[in-house]
C-alpha cells in the first residue's frame, strides 16, 4: 500500500498513521518524519516560505524513491505528502510514514525516503525574512545524507 501526494492542504499525522495501521494489520511498527517550517534560518527570522514544484515529475520521482525503498527493505505501507504553496513557521511541510513488521526496516526506509526526497524531488523553496526573499541553495549536508545510502 502506497500513497504519494503533492498538495497545498495541511495533513493530519493521525489520519496518515491510521491509514497505515488499518491497511497493514500485520505491521509491528510505523516510523514517521514530519518536516516543519523552522522560524530561523542562518540567523534570520523567517516570515514565510513559498514552495514550488514540477507537477507530474515530482510525483513520478517520489514513486521511484518508494520503489527503491521497497527493494531495499521489507515494507508494508508507505505514505508521502509534500505540501506546496505559501507556508509559515511551524507549518507542516512534508510527511513520510512507513509501516513494516520490524522497526529497523521502518526507520531506515523512512530516513532513506527523506534523504532522497531532499536531493531528488523537483521541489524548490523560496524563503522570506523581513530583509529579503530568496530561493534557497541546495545544502551540502543533504548531499552527504544521500551519499550514505550508496
Amino acid at each position: 500500500m502506497r500513497m504519494v501526494s503533492i498538495q497545498t492542504e495541511d495533513f493530519s499525522i493521525e489520519h496518515e498513521t491510521n491509514q497505515l495501521r488499518v491497511s497493514t494489520p500485520e505491521a509491528g511498527g510505523i516510523a514517521t518524519f514530519t518536516g516543519l517550517v523552522s522560524d530561523l534560518n542562518r540567523e534570520q527570522k523567517i516570515e514565510s516560505l513559498f514552495l514550488e514544484h514540477y507537477p507530474g515529475m515530482t510525483e513520478k520521482q517520489l514513486e521511484q524513491i518508494v520503489d527503491q525503498a521497497e527493494q531495499r527493505w521489507k515494507l508494508l505501507g508507505t505514505r508521502i505528502i509534500h505540501r506546496v504553496g505559501l507556508l509559515h513557521p511551524q507549518d507542516q511541510i512534508v510527511f513520510v510514514g512507513v509501516s513494516s513488521r520490524h522497526r529497523k526496516d521502518c526507520f531506515e526506509a523512512c530516513q532513506f525516503i527523506m534523504d532522497y526526497l531532499k536531493t531528488h524531488a523537483t521541489i524548490w523553496k523560496k524563503e522570506s525574512s523581513e530583509q529579503q526573499s530568496e530561493w534557497l541553495d541546495a545544502r551540502e549536508s543533504d548531499k552527504a545524507e544521500e551519499q550514505k545510502w550508496k
Binding site: 514544484h53 524548490w124 545544502r139
Partner: protein, 83 residues
C-alpha cells in the same frame, strides 16, 4: 516541443513555459540551450549557463547530450530544495 522553467530560473527569465518548433537546431539539450539563447536576451545565456542548472526531458533527469524530438517536454531548473 514544450520548454518549462522552474523556481529561480523561471523568475530570472520572467517566463514559465514556451513552445519551441523542433528543428535540426534543437536535436539535443545542448543545441536547444544554444537555440534558446539565440532567440532570447542575455538573461537566457546567464540562466542556462549556470553550471548547477538541471534539465529534464519528459520528466526524467537528463544531460546536455540527451537527444530531443518534437513532442518532448524539456524543463530547466536549479538544484532541488524540498523536504
Amino acid at each position: 516541443m514544450q520548454v518549462l522553467y522552474f523556481a529561480s530560473i523561471r523568475e530570472q527569465l520572467g517566463l514559465e513555459a514556451e513552445q519551441i518548433e523542433f528543428s535540426a537546431d534543437t536535436s539535443n539539450v545542448q543545441a536547444l540551450i544554444a537555440y534558446l539563447c539565440s532567440i532570447h536576451d542575455e538573461r537566457w545565456s546567464e540562466a542556462l549557463g549556470d553550471p548547477n542548472l538541471l534539465v529534464s526531458v519528459n520528466q526524467e533527469l537528463s544531460s546536455l547530450d540527451t537527444g530531443l524530438t518534437g513532442t518532448d517536454e524539456v524543463a530547466f531548473f536549479p538544484p532541488v530544495t524540498g523536504g
